[in-house]
Symmetry: C2
Subunit: 478 residues, 2 copies
Amino acid sequence: MVVWGGMEACAINGLYADRYELAMAQSYWSEGRAEESAVFDYFFRKNPFGGGFAVFAGLGSLVDALGSFRFSREDLEFLRADGFDPDFLEYLASFAFRGRVLAPREGEVVFPLEPVVRVEGGLLETQIVETLLLNVLNFQTLIATKAARCRRSAGKRGLSEFGLRRAQGLGGLWASRAACIGGFDTTSNLAAARIWDLPSAGTMAHSFIQSYDDELTAFRTFAAAHGDATVLLLDTYDTLRSGLPNAIRVARELRERGQSLKAVRLDSGDLAYLARKVRRGLDEAGMEDILIFASNQLDEYVIQSLNQQHAPIDAFGVGTSLATGGPDAALDGVYKLAAVGGRPRMKASETIAKTTLPGRKAVSRYYDDDGMMFADAVHLVEEDAPERMVHPFEAGSSLDLSGKRHRCVLSEVINAGKAATKPVPVREASRYAREAIETLPSEHRRFENPHIYKVGLSPRLRELRDDLIKRNRKELES
Amino acid sequence: MVVWGGMEACAINGLYADRYELAMAQSYWSEGRAEESAVFDYFFRKNPFGGGFAVFAGLGSLVDALGSFRFSREDLEFLRADGFDPDFLEYLASFAFRGRVLAPREGEVVFPLEPVVRVEGGLLETQIVETLLLNVLNFQTLIATKAARCRRSAGKRGLSEFGLRRAQGLGGLWASRAACIGGFDTTSNLAAARIWDLPSAGTMAHSFIQSYDDELTAFRTFAAAHGDATVLLLDTYDTLRSGLPNAIRVARELRERGQSLKAVRLDSGDLAYLARKVRRGLDEAGMEDILIFASNQLDEYVIQSLNQQHAPIDAFGVGTSLATGGPDAALDGVYKLAAVGGRPRMKASETIAKTTLPGRKAVSRYYDDDGMMFADAVHLVEEDAPERMVHPFEAGSSLDLSGKRHRCVLSEVINAGKAATKPVPVREASRYAREAIETLPSEHRRFENPHIYKVGLSPRLRELRDDLIKRNRKELES
């Protein structure tokens, strides 16, 4: 079934992978190592946007995608023509991911260096889902984090996502999903709204107004078709001299019919200045209930600035910078081997900060007496949550955790290839994100030089890692 | 059919739209204006990446998408629940785009302010495809342009795209397509390779090497499975002390079996320094034919710097910055109404530079005697290509075009809703892009302060625009 520009289901099944995943898989298969046990960690090294945290998103999409990660007959023919071993392709024909995945709840607050997702299973299956997993989680976590930052600036005001037109192609679908998880109220994206049951919203374009001989007629026509849901765009000709008086006139006409104009929208010029002028104009006309909606290249910083200026704006529309996660545009999440055949593995590096953490690991999150997040400790799964954690890189630095309430951050979401829990609706992930962010002390949430949230290691994990580093060095020198 | 994370065909048909497109459409329909003739222009205001040009891409995807832009029964039910008028939805049930689209060839060099795509048809149909058109063309043009910049730096060396893991979700599919149009030789993305018949390539991950007890065994195993196609990654433990000697050993073993190691890959550290050391090591072992492939956060500037340092690198792998079009991450393309009911329309603005160009317009491209691009003139379709063009904003500035060879940039790609030409394979668009870029004088191609390519207006078009501006002003003052 061709659904889009020649893009078939193949785009989002087993071929949704970098070629090297299958090249490695073929080697494992030919060596009889496909089923050898392996553990991979997904984690990132730097919070996006120079911030102090990230909002984990994409889990629902990942669980669905792993469930449908298969190779069709056409995929296999393609791979055969590309030089893969026919016997290996026969193996792939019945491939399905049958491993285990542990992850935080979607919407959880997560931090650099700690394992965010742990994937366990056969060496082959845990390797070939790498690209897919990174693609889903890196992007949605980036966008949910951006959305959470906009939410911080907007406070209780409305936030609408409308980035599809400048989103990165089909990436716009997940952008809308993740924006809602991170704290947006609505999206303009109808496809995303339908797929994930998100509230959708929208107003009108300048072209609508221009298509009429005059603005008043355009406003009247739109109001006739949309009644109480009408939002009028004021800046096609001149916001204060034309848009505002025409909107007031149409609002009066609606009122006479027992309806009311919902909002006006500002989309250019100095938004703080115009919002004040428009608010005054509406109030003087006895229309205190008509809302002001603002858009035009907004992001968390512009929204913050508008609020600091007490601009009387009730809702913000955020497009490009949200849907593309600008200026970062990517999260640097990686997927690293932590164990194989039950033996811990580690990626060495010249700098210890880029060294990975070996072994099957858990993350325990500790809370203060007032219920606020205090620190996260990474430890081996066979250990209890530690009472003391050490700094991941600096020798001699440790933190007492005794007596603090704590919980496991990762829990099983896929077991033997099957979803271990029922799907979590986006609205629920969104609610959870809001709650989780509220437990993060404000010094980690601010934009400028956020305080670094403490992520440490159990003494035993640190020892294991340092031993492996020493062993690597010795082997290089021998 | 659920193909991905709950994403059905609906994602990429009529619901691939901002909600306001359908809100406006409902108004047009209820006013009986759906079939009124309209003309829209797609254009952008600023070259991406601070460069001097853009490479037009996405046309093939757009043509396919417009052909399948329909509303399913489920879509209509969704819209009904969302408050749309049932009679309007009945109209949408049989909706198809039956308009006309004119565009440059895919891979064409295009510039700010000139119409890049012209869409003609009924007011309703030309409006509701806005989001889709912008989403496809903005993103693919951004990526093809980034790719062309990397190609400029790389010269004749190899270029591989492998951004899927940090691409913006499903946007990674089109990223690979557009990267090949802009000048990349291969992609790691198997889905994109299969859909658009792109050459794919890939090596191995660090995890592959770590999964063995030692690097030499990992290299040997990979070489056994991949023979002449083997590329070995050198930096898992230590590039010069471990990776290089092990690779040379495996290359010798391959040679004894009548095969040869294709390449080694550097993925960290100082690439210029390491490439020189590795080249010398390979050459001293009599392995001048083994190529060096480099990756790790490359972009057009790093590649340029490596070449300026004469680093002996044969091919580059570019990931995140290419697939996400960083640091821009979005092209600012817009879709503006130019005529309705045969009457020219224009979006007024406080600054003339943001005013749009009214009327049905063509673009003529003029060439110098040596076949190099000289200037583009925007004129009304009823005019011949002008012999003189004027500056779009500055009064008194004009350019003589008489006697210059010229051609139309836009040609019909969709007529009455049907593709007017047969599909252009990506490899052909890629060839065309290379040829087109070669006709662009180098001063427009450089990265720093590129010379601005001249885009002007016919005197008649400028007069039409200025008259409309005056008329707008008068109406505001009356």
